[in-house]
Symmetry: C2
Subunit: 354 residues, 2 copies
């Protein structure tokens, strides 16, 4: 089992200034590096409080690379449908170089209509654009004189620079949420799997992960499939203090997320079946049920150890990336939670086997 | 007068590995920060040895931000024709936040046909795309609910996040090379001016700068127009050692640059008149004439002080950004040159007035 840090800014100018946010998460990243965590992961979003402070996880991770010495850096995720593959492949390889080969690249499909609108990228067809871009990025990392002709981009005889430091290329992770065909495709392709089981019961997510592992095995990939889950975490002094501190932050996070998905109430796309009611589902999820469902882990250190062991057994993941910046949390609260995790939780989890 | 560091990787896998390049220039950036230099500037290019190791100056500067405490960070330049304004405005504001308000944004038009080809951006019309993108970025930094409708991008009611830390927005610099109308436009718009007088005699560049300052004054901008020049610099132990070390590095740099512009031999665009013979002009420039023309400064500390004073008088710039990474230079040679500059040149230049 490995344990990393997962970041997703949910701040707006009225709740936390961007320089404060980045100062805080860079400090968390340094502590995670020194404390033996495996990864720092950062999202890509635009325009709204939900993730909008970080339009470029690669640029953020470049700062983390300079501020740390050993922790791995994960995009979680970049949104390939909003990037040209030559830019994405080159910039990722550059951050791989800046970090001395510490980059993991997570890709996700993107699902917020307002982002597609701003960039004039159609929702319909985005799955094909997603896979075509990832295919092109992988070729640009591993081949020279690459020619590609798709409905979305076309180039001939391109050799991207810099070449990745990690060979054949940085580890690739793909995020999946609910579609069994997505989980199967990720396994077939031999990619690692990144799940965020906020809206999916853990048992159901476990079934999806099994679909992924089976597809991975059937495709005959030599390497072991890696599955990592990202979940909100707050470690308090006591269970009572933890709930008192974390519940309003979780509520705030859910509200920001729900607002970001409200646009689905008036948008429909064949590529995104089932997204219409997403914001209602998120609003319906209160902090208590978020905790008791197992998607958010909140408690004193001993409680967190028990809860993580339970989740590990149900989910069958290889590692966790703990989201610790939710609710535009004041820096000192997040630092205290992380320090409790590093001092009192992580040592007890090191012996846990999935 | 201010003095900063200017970086442009001219490495390929056969001459210097990307992790070595970035380790070296991050060390140079730290030394420049500690030594009282004003800026670290980094270019954006793709695909070839000429700049291709840095497709994202913002991502590189984000690492510099984390590795330094006071030096300013300048893109020099980003190429707006290859970016969506929402991404460019948001990512720049993010690096402004990560750096605590230390970002300067330099924009350039881009001029390498192979980059336009790869991104399927037409050379013809690129001037209009350039100005439209900069206009949109400035509006996204300073306004909310921005609606823009151009032939290149269109969006409605967009409020970009994060908001820039520096108000109203990070200082803007525009690069110009040879067209008088470009210098006049930059002055009219009230932007700062960035010049790289490698192929333009200093006297001619001085005339261009005068055109810029006059247009700036005529437009009635309240702030003082700032002009910065980027030139190659090597400070040696002696003049002889300096030439012996720097000349092959300058030759290598010119060869890499010439190769990048060879595509102009078979391309023509009304938006880029006079570019056809560019690679021949660069190849014709030998290291000796590069030095004696004044575009490259090479010598012992005392020689460099004299040469910088002469150039300052001719050019009338407010500051210099010294390019010290040319020729895929080994790190220890660049560090030694920078240390001589900081110890023996900069103190003597502090009293120089333009």
């Amino acid at each position: 089992m490995f344990h990393g840090l997962s970041l997703l800014p949910d701040c707006a100018p009225g709740t936390k200034a961007p320089d404060d946010y980045f100062r805080d998460v860079l400090l968390l990243s340094r502590l995670a590096d020194q404390g033996g965590m495996s990864h720092v992961k950062m999202t890509e979003h635009y325009l709204g409080a939900y993730g909008g402070y970080c339009p470029s996880p690669l640029a953020f991770l470049s700062a983390v690379a300079a501020a740390t010495t050993r922790i791995r850096l994960m995009t979680g995720c970049v949104l390939p449908v909003f990037h040209h593959p030559v830019q994405l492949a080159s910039e990722a390889a550059m951050v791989d170089a800046i970090s001395g080969g510490r980059l993991d690249v997570g890709f996700a499909r993107a699902y917020l209509p307002q982002e597609f609108d701003a960039f004039q990228v159609p929702l319909d067809g985005s799955r094909e654009r997603f896979t075509a871009t990832i295919d092109a990025v992988r070729r640009l990392w591993t081949e020279e004189n690459v020619s590609v002709d798709t409905p979305f981009f076309r180039f001939e005889g391109v050799t991207a620079l810099p070449r990745p430091v990690q060979r054949p290329h940085p580890p690739v992770w793909i995020a999946a949420v609910r579609s069994r065909s997505s989980f199967a495709w990720i396994g077939e392709q031999g990619y690692n799997l990144l799940v965020t089981p906020a809206l999916t019961p853990l048992g159901e997510m476990s079934d999806h992960i099994a679909v992924y592992r089976e597809a991975h095995a059937d495709a005959g990939h030599a390497h072991r499939p890696q599955v990592v889950a990202s979940l909100p975490l707050y470690v308090g002094d006591s269970d009572e203090e933890a709930r008192r501190t974390a519940d309003p932050l979780l509520r705030s996070y859910l509200d920001v997320w729900a607002a970001a998905t409200d646009s689905w109430l008036s948008v429909a796309s064949d590529d995104y079946r089932g997204y219409t009611g997403m914001s209602r589902a998120i609003r319906a999820l209160d902090a208590t049920s978020f905790r008791t469902m197992g998607s958010a882990v909140v408690g004193a250190p001993a409680t967190v150890v028990d809860r993580v062991q339970e989740i590990t057994e149900v989910l069958g993941a290889d590692g966790f990336l703990w989201q610790m910046d939710f609710g535009a949390v004041p820096g000192q609260i997040a630092v205290a939670s992380l320090e409790r995790f590093l001092d009192k939780v992580l040592p007890s989890l090191s012996s846990v086997r999935s």
